[in-house]
Amino acid sequence: MIRVAAVGDIHLGLDSEGLLRPALETLPECADLLLLAGDLTRHGTPEEARVVAREMSGLPVPVVAVLGNHDHHDEQPERVTDVLREAGVRVLEGQGTVLDIDGTRVGVAGTKGFGGGFVGRCGSEFGEPMMKEFIRYTRRCADGLRTALEDLAEAGCGTRIALTHFSPVPDTLAGEPLEIYPFLGSYLLAEAMDTAGADLALHGHAHAGTEHGMTSGGVPVRNVAQPVIRRAFNVYHLHAQEDGARPAAPADVVG
């Protein structure tokens, strides 16, 4: 059994020093790893990233993160990434990482992701260049996630987790205004997970959403935005598949 702690949208600023640390110190008792689902800062400045880094540094469990849109606001995501990596946080964007948890290979694939909306209510690559680029950017994020999940399967990971900031499904957005769903996530992320296979999907971004959802291919989805879970983090127990991670969902099954 793998114990996954996760939280997103912690939005640490210069006034947040030490707020999460007492809860994080309890991690070894309840979790094998900590996943951070983006929006770790408020404006994505290196100073705010250093607050996050101090909060996460030296934790006795591995920490894996993706960035969120806030972490891009100051247009220095590379510096934010560097600061976090120096503190030992594995920051993923279209990449995967393998963790050895008591002899079990656990893979985490991550991307920030982006918006675009959900099936039947989404943008498409049409019209103005900016609109086309909007969707293409999301597609690149989703492609990176799918490739990373596939690589983790090939690397023999018995458990695979998809970590994003934007949501892969509308389920976990319930509570948000319907009109803003296209800015909160994209079905392309869910399609990537269902194509490559995953045991759990974690995301943030939707502060007014709900925790539980599922992709149409059956991957459990959890919105771990801190305003949603109302904790420093939540813990999910995953039971490793005996014959490898949850396989990709059949794309064209007819009843």
Partner: protein, 83 residues
């Protein structure tokens, strides 16, 4: 001269919040009845104070009701078994 349009005042307030030190924190600001409601979760007590100050300043003359809580930083008391 007509009174300033409440809808646009709210829109401008949201722009200001996003541009200033709070950033876009998913705080919902809506015209409701004769006033305005502000709901959401913010990371710290200082953020809440700053939010209230900015809203009060921007929406002077309107009745504003707040339901804004500060994020909770306690460790969870139980895990979820994901099956």
């Amino acid at each position: 001269m007509t009174a300033p349009n409440t809808d646009y005042r709210i829109a401008h307030l949201q722009d200001r919040l996003a541009a200033e030190e709070l950033g876009e924190l998913g705080v919902r600001i809506e015209a409701r009845g004769p006033g305005v409601t502000v709901t959401g979760t913010v990371p710290t007590a200082q953020c809440r104070e700053k939010l209230v100050r900015t809203v009060d300043e921007e929406l002077t003359g309107l009745t504003v009701r707040y339901d804004v809580i500060v994020a909770e930083n306690a460790a969870p008391d139980r895990p979820e078994e994901v099956t």
